[in-house]
């Protein structure tokens, strides 16, 4: 069982990346968590480059998603929506649409922002995008508002309510992935 974490924030001390690390600590011992670090290297989507030999960073992202049983995304909110680089990366992964690596893949979305609302609009937009791509989107939400008050200086989550919400999302995501594994093996 492998869960891939993708943070929509590229910032080194990103609250969203910290949120993914906190989520990883809530996963069972048999769950391998990989924090994917390649988003920054993904070039702008260009259909001319979307060939059998796509840019290396794109191939790496597709391979990382394909190799995971589930994907957990944490997104900040830029101007009321998804950060461009995260959307761009997902646009690459979504091709070809009928057979892309996210199709039927269990995914969940969480988010943190410095403001009061915890990136709820970005999360809603991201869920819509993921469903359109064909992913199995877990409905649970974790909206971490005032993120600077929820993590300590080492980036550790210090809010138990948030941890409880995060546990629900992580458990739901992992359960959806486990439900799918026998089918994958039988196929």
């Amino acid at each position: 069982m492998k869960v891939l974490g993708i943070s929509g924030s590229l910032r080194r001390e990103s609250y969203n990346t910290s949120l993914l690390r906190a989520a990883a600590e809530l996963m069972g011992g048999d769950v391998e968590f990989e924090l994917w670090q390649g988003l920054k290297a993904v070039p702008p989507y260009d259909a001319d480059e979307d060939t059998e030999n796509p840019p290396a960073a794109v191939a790496a992202m597709r391979t990382a998603v394909a190799g995971a049983d589930a994907v957990l995304l944490a997104t900040p909110e830029y101007n009321a929506s998804i950060p461009g680089q995260l959307k761009n990366g997902l646009d690459w992964v979504s091709r070809p649409l009928a057979t892309n690596a996210l199709r039927n893949k269990p995914v969940a979305v969480v988010g943190a922002s410095a403001g009061a609302f915890g990136a709820v609009w970005a999360q809603a937009d991201l869920r819509k995008v993921l469903a359109t791509i064909g992913a199995r989107v877990f409905e649970g939400e974790v909206a971490v508002g005032h993120a600077h008050t929820r993590f300590d200086e080492q980036g550790r989550l210090i809010d138990d309510d948030i941890r409880e919400q995060l546990t629900e999302v992580v458990d739901g995501l992992v359960a959806a992935a486990r439900a799918r594994i026998p089918q994958a093996q039988a196929a």
Binding site: L97, A98, T99, R103, N104, A131, T132, G134, A135, R136, V137, A179, R180, Q183
Partner: protein, 181 residues
């Protein structure tokens, strides 16, 4: 309905679907027209006994056939039928009414794992013998369902504020049956 009437309309026995000549499809209003699709893989069985008749049918979601592979993939995704978790659409009616030219089949329809009472109705194409000597009977049936009652909720708002895809879907079947030997 009396036994005699059933035997008149459809002779007793088990009638298997001829999947090659049968069609199970759907129609739904989309923006300014009607979107149609069909399921290429279907199975059905009509059983006529001395005291009544039953109808049962299955369509494989993964065989959904529309004019674009990306649309087909979207229809199979969790946004719509969710083929991975719910690979079949199913209709069962344990006691159907065959009367004259009409069939009324009160039964249960299962889509996306949700089972609801549903009545399929339509016309009977009376038994005849084909050129190979097989007895055949046809049923041309349909039903209208609210897809949202089955958890198929996808939609997209139009600039006018209306939704792109109607909730009401017509499911129709042109079912050719061949009497089992």
């Amino acid at each position: 309905m009396s036994t005699t009437e059933i035997l008149t309309v459809a002779p007793a026995g088990t009638w298997q679907l001829d999947p090659i000549h049968s069609t199970v499809g759907f129609e739904v209003e989309y923006i300014v027209g009607t979107l149609r699709g069909q399921f290429r893989e279907v199975e059905a069985k009509l059983v006529v006994g001395e005291s009544g008749a039953s109808l049962e049918g299955v369509a494989k979601v993964a065989s959904v056939d529309v004019k674009d592979e990306n649309l087909a993939a979207h229809l199979q995704s969790p946004d719509f039928f969710d083929a991975e978790r719910h690979p079949e659409l199913r209709f069962t009616a344990e006691q159907i009414d065959l009367d004259g030219d009409t069939i009324i089949a009160p039964g249960e329809l299962t889509m996306k794992g949700v089972t609801k009472p549903d009545t399929v109705s339509g016309t009977i194409l009376h038994p005849t013998t084909d050129y190979a000597g097989n007895e055949r009977i046809g049923l041309r049936v349909s039903t209208k369902v609210d897809r949202t009652e089955f958890g198929i909720n996808w939609n997209a708002p139009l600039p006018t504020g209306k939704q792109a895809l109607a909730d009401e879907v017509t499911i129709n079947g042109d079912l050719y049956f061949v009497k089992a030997a």
